[in-house]
Structures are given as structure tokens and as C-alpha cells.
Symmetry: C2
Subunit: 233 residues, 2 copies
């Protein structure tokens, strides 16, 4: 074995190395992750699956290792109905903001699955956690909010790896959400997520499919060394 390694001139794999197959699994998960609104099944999520997904979220990077997040899991139909009502209010306001053609298209889109998904998860940020001076937050105080967003994305990918769909309901006033689930003043809601098993995952994002916007070419958003001189308008 040692001789073989010497002959092949390849160092032995290290315990935490990711293999080619494992890498492909990560890309499959990243590229097939969707914002799910329509395809939720009522099937309950086993506790151990929910725990795995939350553990993945809790292992997100955080500035100064402050772990500013909390996760509130919401199963009650009554609570979800109140959240749905708060969505409907914000959604109605939003429809009036678009020009006429876009507003009609907007009203025809299904943008959340609050009642269909068996569970909602609210992810928050406690900006006061671990004291007033946090390593890594001194020049950029928004870093704690961004840490909680990293937890959202870890949760979303872990859920996808469990074949669970997730949808981020951003059309909701966070003050309304805070009242419904008793979040105190000093805590900032970051995301309200719906989560559940799905009948299928769309091959493309739904907003791309219906022609709301196209996916930008990668070459248009990658620049070498500096922001390009003839900058995007």
C-alpha cells in the first residue's frame, strides 16, 4: 500500500477530504434547490429529520462565532392562519406597487405555501448576543444579520438534501410576524420559511419559467481584478 502510494505520487486522502462523488452530490443539491410554493404534501416531517436540518442551520458561519440565531418551529394551524393573513395584507399592498401589466401577472402568481406546508420556521437574529463588541462586527455591524442569513441557506440546502421543499416568505411585515409569535422588540426576524415534503421539484425556478425574469449569464456578473469600467447600469 505504501509502495503503491509512493509509486502513484499521490498523497493519501485526508479524513475530511471531499471525494468527487460527494462533491457532485453537493452540486446536485445546490442546483436543484427551489423556492417551493405549490407542491407541498401534508406528510409530517419526522423529528429526527427536522433536528438534522436545524443542526445544519446551527452550523452556519457566524461573525466572531456569536451564533446570533434562534429557530421557532410553527406547526399550529391557528398560528399559521394568522401568518397567512399577515402575508395577504403585505401581498395586497405589493400588488399596487407594480405597473398595470406587471401587477396583473403578480396577482396571478402563487408566492407562498404557509397553510399547505406542515411546518413554518422563523429564523431570527439577536443583535445583542454576546455583548456590545463582537469580533468581526466592529467595521460592519450588519455582519450579525448576515450570519443568520447563512443559517437560512444552510437550512435550505440541508432540507433539499432531505428531499424537503422550502419557501422563503418575504412578503410579510416583520412587525406583524413578531406580534403573532411573541418575538421581543430587540430580536430581528430574518426569514419565515415554509417547509415540507413535495410532490416534485421544478427543474427551473418558477419565476424564470413564467418569464418574470431570466437567469443572467454568469459572464455578466463575474469580473476580473476590478469593477469593469463600462459598468452595468
Amino acid at each position: 500500500m505504501v509502495l503503491f502510494q509512493l509509486l502513484s505520487r499521490k498523497p493519501p486522502p485526508r479524513p475530511l477530504d471531499i471525494t468527487k462523488e460527494e462533491r457532485e452530490a453537493v452540486y446536485k443539491t445546490i442546483f436543484s434547490r427551489r423556492d417551493v410554493r405549490n407542491e407541498y404534501l401534508p406528510n409530517p416531517i419526522p423529528d429526527e429529520v427536522l433536528k438534522r436540518v436545524l443542526t445544519a442551520a446551527h452550523h452556519a458561519p457566524s461573525v466572531g462565532f456569536m451564533q446570533p440565531w434562534d429557530f421557532i418551529t410553527i406547526k399550529s394551524t391557528k398560528t399559521r392562519a394568522a401568518i397567512k393573513q399577515a402575508f395577504l395584507e403585505a401581498h395586497k399592498e405589493a400588488a399596487d406597487m407594480f405597473d398595470e401589466a406587471k401587477s396583473e401577472q403578480y396577482k396571478g402568481l402563487k408566492l407562498e405555501g404557509i397553510m399547505e406546508a406542515p411546518i413554518g420556521i422563523c429564523i431570527t437574529c439577536d443583535r445583542t448576543r454576546n455583548g456590545p463588541v463582537v469580533l468581526g462586527k466592529t467595521a460592519n455591524p450588519e455582519m450579525d444579520l448576515y450570519s443568520s442569513v447563512c443559517a437560512v441557506q444552510n437550512l435550505w440546502l440541508a432540507a433539499r438534501a432531505e428531499n424537503l421543499g422550502v419557501g422563503w416568505v418575504s412578503i410579510i411585515h416583520h412587525d406583524a410576524l413578531k406580534k403573532i409569535i411573541n418575538i421581543p422588540d430587540h430580536i430581528t426576524p430574518i426569514a419565515y420559511l415554509c417547509m415540507g415534503y413535495v410532490s416534485f421539484f421544478h427543474e427551473k425556478p418558477e419565476l424564470e419559467k413564467v418569464g418574470w425574469l431570466n437567469r443572467e449569464d454568469l459572464s455578466n456578473v463575474v469580473h476580473e481584478e476590478f469593477w469593469p469600467e463600462n459598468e452595468r447600469i
Copy 2:
């Protein structure tokens, strides 16, 4: 085959389903991702690897599919030296903000690998992209910033799956960074990341290892249905 499926009463796997092995690969990647500062190797990153990682970042979720991000890849030693200088200034300011004991410990930590990693990546957010009214941003205007953070986390995990280390340099004033790489006024820097192959990945976050802060128990950050009455202070 069909008979076997009928007998086993299990539906055939769907093309986008994630298998158990693939799921384990995703968790391995999430749990072994680190903020790397010390272990960078100078080995260059092949173009196709860099492209895969940036493609993964570009497939992050974004509010209203607006894809507000740009990615500036920085290899020049001169530019990285200017960024290192900007880090040093913000780092010096920061050291004075902690109390005496913490300040001494802070000064002893290595918190970035700007010169050691062969590449830096600046991820930005264009808050004006796709017009003044963006689907999903109407109630929460910060959603575009959060979309770019999701791109950071996708990039970080894709890099880990390529056995590349990444470190987020948040101890830097973004105005200084904008000047160095010509970022226009209306663009918001979200993250400056160092990226490179590494000699090894730490088993635990370094700030946990040196006793800066401990990892919180998951049970302390997960709550059912409502924010707990005897809330964390």
C-alpha cells in the same frame, strides 16, 4: 423491474431525488466547512474549479429572481496588498474596542489570509437592479442584501466540496474596499472572501478551539410555536 416495484410498494425514485449517500455528502460538507485564515497553500485554483464555485454562487436563491450579485475575482498581489492594508487599519481600531483581557487575546488571533490565499473574491449587491419595485422586496427592502449573502454561503459550501478553504474578511471598511477595486457608489459590498487550497481543515472552528466562545446547545436556540416566555437575555 415493474413487478419488483409493485411488490416493494415503493414508488420509483424521481430524477431529482437526493439519495442517502448524497445527503450524507451534503452534511459532511456543511459540518466540515471552516472559516480559514492560516492554512492556505499557494497552489493556483484551476479555472474550471473557480467557474464551478462561482456558478454555484450564482444559483443562490434571490428575491424575485433579481440576482443582485456581482463577483470580482482578485489575484493581483498589489491589489491584495492594498486590501491587507485596509484590513490592518480596521483591525487596529477594533483591538481598542475590547476590554483589556479580550483585547490582548484578540491581538493574538490571526483573522485573515489575504496575502496567503491565491485569490480574493468580492461579492456585492446591486440594490437598483431590475427596477425600483422587486417582487418579494416590497415589505422587506433588505431582502436583496440577504440574497447576496445566500450567494456567499453557496460559494462557501461549493468551495468546501472542492476542498478549497474560504475565509470571510469582515474586519475592513467597505468604503476602503470600494476605492481599491473601483466599485461604484450605488453598489454595496457584502463580503470579501479569501479562497485557496489548504494544508488541512480544522475539526472545530478556531474561535471555539481557543475558547473565545463555545458552541451553543441546539436546544437553547430552537423553540416550539412561540418565542419562549422566559426569554434569553
